[in-house]
């Protein structure tokens, strides 16, 4: 596909498809299309995402993964908009190159790109009633070859980490990482850091917090035993290179 960004305030993406060329997009983000563009339904199953995995994702509450993608087949033009302000990035993935993109930001991708939804991390908070709440970092894993288009909230900032190089982002600020970047969600408590995940570095696919997770939650979010919190408690994401990290300025 050939993709271009249209406009600056709430950019849309304009895709030009050759005859028989296909792209996939989230349901109902189409802005307009030419009549010769065909619309089909593409199930997650046909993309290699099994139903139990998808149901497990949806069972985690905040996941917005649908059961279908809309497939647009050329020739002609089709345009997409996510109805939000922010930058649109058109990225060409090399064969085998993988990006993990925060869920809800993907606009469209080539049929040749392998798609797999995943949980990249999780953390816990305690609400005013003292109940524990689990939060998940959902991501779309996309593997080349092919073109993908996604939109940030606000502006995009890209970093290229060397092997072993570290950086820290806010939980809401992280938009995408290479699959080579190791990720861990930690709590920043009064200047010190406490792990908020019981799996250490690496991506997660589900799994409850377990006893260790609960203990960490008690220590981190619960403001209780073992940790003299005193200050502000902020969940943060620690990232270790090598690879690319993309951060966005809005939420």
């Amino acid at each position: 596909m050939r993709a271009d960004t249209v406009g600056g305030i709430t950019p849309a993406v304009l895709v030009n498809l050759a005859p028989g060329e296909k792209i996939l997009a989230a349901h109902e983000i189409m802005l307009y299309k030419e009549p010769q563009i065909q619309l089909h339904r593409r199930t997650m199953k046909s993309l290699g995402v099994n139903t139990s995995h998808l149901m497990a994702m949806r069972g985690r509450g905040d996941s917005e993964e649908g059961y279908f993608f809309a497939e647009f087949e050329g020739p002609g033009h089709v345009s997409f908009s996510r109805d939000k302000g922010g930058e649109v990035r058109i990225q060409h993935l090399q064969p085998g190159e993988t990006i993990r993109l925060r869920s809800g930001h993907l606009m469209c991708f080539d049929e040749s790109v392998r798609y797999y939804p995943m949980v990249q991390g999780q953390w816990y908070t305690t609400n005013a009633n003292g109940d524990q709440e689990t939060h998940y970092l959902f991501a779309d894993e996309l593997t080349g070859p092919g073109t993908i288009v996604y939109q940030s909230h606000g502006n995009l900032l890209s970093f290229s980490l060397r092997p072993g190089e570290r950086m820290r982002t806010s939980v809401l600020g992280l938009l995408a990482t290479s699959n080579t970047v190791q990720l861990a969600i930690n709590w920043l408590i009064g200047g010190s850091t406490v792990s908020a995940s019981n799996r250490g570095f690496g991506s997660l696919m589900g799994g409850g917090g377990g006893l260790l997770g609960a203990a960490l939650q008690a220590a981190a979010g619960g403001g209780g035993a073992g940790v003299s919190s005193g200050g502000v408690q902020i969940p943060v994401i620690d990232l270790v290179g090598p690879g690319t990290v993309v951060v966005h300025s809005g939420v």
């Binding site: 249209v6 406009g7 600056g8 305030i9 709430t10 950019p11 849309a12 349901h27 109902e28 189409m30 802005l31 307009y32 299309k33 030419e34 009549p35 619309l39 089909h40 339904r41 593409r42 279908f68 809309a70 345009s79 908009s81 109805d83 939000k84 302000g85």
Partner: protein
Amino acid sequence: MQLEDIKGLVPTVLATLAPQESIYCEHGIMLFKDPTVSVGRKTVQGGGLLKTMERTTVGGIPFFLTEFIGPGQVGLSRDGVGELRVIELAPNEVLDVFEGSLLCAEAHVPYDMLYVKGTNRPGRIVGFWMDRLTGPGKIALHGYGNIISFTLAPQEVVTCDMGALLYKSGSVQAVTKNLPFGSGLLGKLESVEVLELIGPGKVALQSIDPRQPNHS
């Protein structure tokens, strides 16, 4: 009368009115005005009691429009991120503007309404209203997000999202349709509600659907 686009993320139109010159707009979008500018009420007429009830209770269209009479300046804003267009309508040129997008029009521009029917599917029965304006005269519009303009040749068709239309020429037909989302019963149940615009004439789309509750 002069209409000036005060550009920015949330643009404002600044109308400069000579003595006794006037514009009309929807109620509640005034940002500021000079003390010399007086405010009046313009009654929306047409279609009788039942039609009025339909457009006000179902469509959310106001009973009255607000009229500003010069001399002086008045600023109007739609409180949304987007672009603004000032259009000079030629004599007898008809422009249909999506509900909630008209900023103002010169007092002598005739105002009417047009209803585009929904697809009659459960939950999607209700269509939308458009403001119909006929030239000559100047009007100002607010497009949510970015504005993308086309000129359609006779019988040329563009299919767009229901909330994407900003304005169209009176000669352009707007028809709501259910675009099947794949085959079979599921394809019909999951069909995408779209708007088919058939030329000839001008069409402008906006990249934010203003009907979305958190659109900007």
